[in-house]
């Protein structure tokens, strides 16, 4: 496509197609805490198209003005930039609308169609649509079918386009994800489908690509010859809060490991893409997932740990056990902790274990990728008669985003004791503390029609292929010792044992 003559590549002048974003589940928590603040901040940064509208679709009756007032409060509470700027809001709120309907009622969709037509005439939005499905997964197939049935989604053509953003989880296992995929592809194409994994919208996750492929010094050591192992940690200090019903259905493996952690692993382990297009990057990520060695029965027993938090202490305050949380079965066997070891059977990573640890109610909230390098050969500089600490490159995804490098250093003085020291780059120190929220970037990318930061069908499928056998094994072999770690600890003993068997330790991030 030829560039627009009035815009200059790489600069802010971008012609963004006019459009309307319709949010299904507009009265839900995600809309209030993330989506609306994200859209407001896009408006604040002048990144939305001039001709723009946003329609909230939900079941509760509400007027446009009531919806606007509620959203104003939510944006005030949850925007990354506070306080809300009145002049921006006054302009923005004129573009906000509400549409009440049940998800399964034809009449609601017909009225929506008419209403969007009116808005097109009023706002100049040209029939371009984004439908954001921020609803329970069981409604995904129904809504997409209804949108198609009523002519609200249509194939991209010269005049207009329609796209659908689907929140996670995309299925509960391999079969259900394939069923969902097979159903929705009757109505929308892969190009129209934007499966969100908000980790991909994080600046620091995107920086991983820059870090790896824009710095020549790392690529030459980014392989089995130099790397001993990789640890990926996604830890939350919070429990499940008011998501008891959801979590009882999902568990941590589905909630965090199958999606977020697999995305992190893919980007850390992928080969350089041929270009930065959506296809170029996603092709390489899929290859990583395809190269993951399937877990054997022996792995299920020795290289996989599940856990559930008991009562304990977080920041000095006593917190309750998972089984005491609201809407949770008192004898629940749902996991809130997962640790596992994976191998990638490819040239670059042969023999390098990837240790993954995701959990609720650990001592702190932290997401980190740690690359642990092999020891220096020989023992020239002994440290208390033991070998020196390995070099560690730690990439902090959140919070306090940054990169640190641990290296060994001589302590001043006549003898030569060796002390590990840390070289630290803090993202916030250079680029400010309020980077754009992941959802801002993702919504903007969808408006621009760039699917690079969204999961492709084969990525989701491949990931489920890895984890569905685990879910099946767990369902046949219920845990005997739940809860098996106190809140505020770093997880069950079995997770430490997993590392100890390999003569390694979990990092304390």
């Amino acid at each position: 496509m030829n560039a627009h003559p009035l815009e200059e590549e790489g600069r802010s002048t971008r012609s963004i197609d006019p459009c309307i974003v319709v949010i299904f589940g507009a009265t839900g928590d995600l809309t209030a805490r993330k989506l609306m603040p994200a859209i407001y901040n896009l408006a604040r940064e002048s990144l939305l198209p001039a001709n723009f509208g946003c329609v909230g679709f939900a079941r509760r009756p509400k007027s446009h003005d009531e919806f606007r007032e509620e959203m104003k409060k939510q944006v005030s509470d949850h925007s990354r930039v506070k306080p809300i700027e009145e002049n921006i809001w006054s302009n923005f709120h004129e573009k906000l609308f509400y549409h009440q309907s049940e998800f399964d009622k034809d009449e609601g969709y017909e009225k929506l169609k008419g209403f969007l037509g009116e808005l097109d005439a009023k706002l100049g939005t040209k029939g371009n649509r984004i439908f954001y499905l921020s609803v329970q997964p069981k409604f995904f197939p129904l809504i997409i079918e209804m949108l198609s049935k009523h002519g609200l989604i249509y194939k991209e053509n010269e005049n207009n386009w329609s796209r659908v953003i689907i929140e996670k989880p995309f299925g509960k296992d391999w079969k259900s994800s394939m069923d969902l995929q097979n159903h929705i592809q009757k109505f929308i194409t892969e190009e129209q489908t934007y499966r969100i994994d908000h980790y991909l919208g994080k600046e620091t996750v995107q920086n991983l690509l820059v870090f790896r492929f824009a710095n020549s010094i790392f690529e030459s050591i980014w392989n089995y010859k130099h790397i001993d192992h990789v640890q990926i940690t996604v830890a939350e200090d919070l429990g499940i809060g008011n998501r008891g019903e959801f979590f009882e259905e999902e568990g941590l493996l589905r909630d965090i490991v199958q999606n977020h952690m697999m995305q992190l692993l893919s980007i850390v382990a992928m080969e350089p893409p041929i270009d930065l297009s959506a296809k170029g990057i996603r092709d390489e990520k899929v290859k990583v997932l395809q190269s993951i060695r399937p877990l054997s029965k022996n792995d299920f027993q020795n290289n996989l740990v599940r856990g559930q938090y008991g009562k304990g202490f977080i920041e000095g305050e006593q917190v309750k056990a998972y089984r005491q949380e609201e809407e949770v079965d008192k004898s629940s066997n749902i996991e809130t902790f997962v640790a596992l070891k994976l191998y990638l059977d490819n040239w670059r990573w042969t023999g390098v274990p990837f240790y993954l640890r995701g959990a609720k109610r650990l001592p702190k909230k932290v997401t980190e990728i740690a690359i642990i390098f092999k020891d220096a050969p020989g023992l020239l500089f002994k440290h208390h008669n033991s070998k020196n600490d390995p070099n560690v490159l730690a990439i902090r995804i959140q919070p306090d985003e940054g990169i640190s490098m641990k290296m060994n250093c001589k302590v001043p003085g006549p003898s030569s004791p060796v002390q590990p020291v840390k070289m630290d780059f803090r993202y916030g120190a250079y680029f400010g503390k309020t980077p754009p929220e992941a959802y801002e970037r993702l919504i903007l990318e969808c408006i621009l029609g760039d699917s690079t930061l969204f999961a492709r069908a084969d990525e989701v499928e491949q990931s489920w292929k890895i984890f569905t056998p685990i879910l099946e094994y767990w369902s046949k072999n219920p845990p005997k010792n739940f809860p098996n770690y106190p809140s505020g600890s770093w997880g069950p003993k079995e997770a430490d044992d997993l590392m100890a068997r390999d003569n390694r330790n979990w990092r304390i991030p």
Partner: protein
């Protein structure tokens, strides 16, 4: 900002080290992404330049080397001071340092030698030069060789045409240096507004068929801005270069500049002496088919433009385009520091150079 401390040049790094040592105990992080040399004359525009520097530091911490030249006195004078610049962002624990040099008379020759030891190694050096470099040739030439990016202010030149000639020549001689102009950057919002309005092929064709384009620019003077026609000239140069129009002739009727392209497309640059400088109050585009596109800045909300589109068949409902505050956002800082030389900028200069 930690207030300026006047010190002798030989103590600059030592004194900065002591300040940072004390700030480290308060968990302040010293950060620098580049060296920024700023040169300004001791005059009423100096405060405006300091605001620009602050807006850069807000987004991108850097080592600032700020030269204030008093060219009104022949007395030799050289004074150095240091200070620490903080980001205004709430809870920010990042800061960077500033080395200020006040100079006059022949002591100006010492400045390059004074600055050289204080460049942070391995970081790029940018030169913010909002004065006419032709007038301060000696110092500019000596500092230019360090720079990978030079930011001018075309206002400081005799005219935008002189600036165009000078910068085009510079960009040919120094292809490895990026060039930018503060006035060009200030026009960004209007360029975005026009690009967003004429985004579609259908709209773009209408723009191509323009008969007259009126630019009502704000022409009141203040202490910082004197040549308010600059941005209007830039705007017409940009549009004509992007749309491939050929200059036919220029004229002036009363205070209005009239520029004809392709023999049948006329720009009218109309001054409004009642408006604060540095912007346009409205732009009206009329096509050969008598379609009209009105872009009018709202009186009460200067960051908003009301857009009305009238064709022969219909009048669309007016809508608002939000421009944002270019000085508040990251745009100014990005343009001043990170982006390479804009192709549109050079093409516009080329257009102006041929007028």
């Amino acid at each position: 900002m930690i207030s300026q401390k006047i010190i002798v040049p030989s103590k600059i790094e030592q004194e900065l080290f002591q300040i940072w040592d004390s700030l480290a105990k308060k968990n302040k992080t010293r950060a620098s992404l580049f060296n920024l040399i700023v040169y300004t004359k001791q005059n009423e525009r100096c405060d405006n330049v300091r605001k620009i520097v602050q807006s850069i530091v807000e987004k991108f911490p850097c080592r600032v080397l700020f030269i204030t030249h008093d060219d009104q006195t022949k007395k030799n004078f050289l004074k150095t001071a240091i200070s620490v610049l903080f980001q205004k962002e709430k809870d920010s624990d990042t800061a960077c340092d500033s080395i200020d040099i006040g100079v006059s008379g022949s002591d100006v020759e010492k400045v390059p030698y004074l600055l050289s030891p204080h460049f942070l190694p391995d970081l790029p050096i940018y030169l913010l030069w909002p004065e006419n470099p032709i007038e301060s040739k000696g110092l500019f030439e000596k500092l230019k060789k360090f720079a990978s990016r030079i930011i001018f202010d075309s206002e400081s030149f005799e005219s935008v045409y002189q600036f165009a000639r000078y910068t085009l020549q510079m960009s040919k001689v120094h292809p490895s240096i990026d060039f930018a102009d503060i006035q060009w950057i200030y026009m960004e919002n209007w360029k975005n507004c026009i690009a967003a309005t004429f985004y579609s092929e259908e709209r773009l064709k209408k723009l191509q068929r323009s008969k007259t384009i009126e630019i009502h620019y704000n022409a009141a003077h203040n202490l910082s801005f004197a040549q308010n026609v600059t941005q209007a000239l830039y705007f017409q140069g940009w549009l004509s270069s992007r749309l491939g129009w050929h200059f036919s002739k220029g004229d002036k009727k009363s205070k209005t500049l009239i520029i004809l392209y392709n023999e049948d497309t006329t720009f009218k640059l109309i001054p409004n002496y009642n408006k604060e400088p540095k912007d346009f109050s409205k732009v009206i585009i009329t096509t050969k088919n008598k379609e009209e596109f009105h872009f009018v800045k709202k009186e009460a909300k200067q960051e908003e433009v009301l857009i009305k589109v009238n064709t022969q068949d219909q009048c669309e409902l007016p809508y608002t385009y939000y421009m944002g505050n270019i000085e508040m956002g990251s745009f100014l800082s990005n343009e001043l520091t990170y982006k390479g030389t804009s192709t549109h900028f050079l093409q516009t200069l080329d257009k102006l150079n041929k007028q």
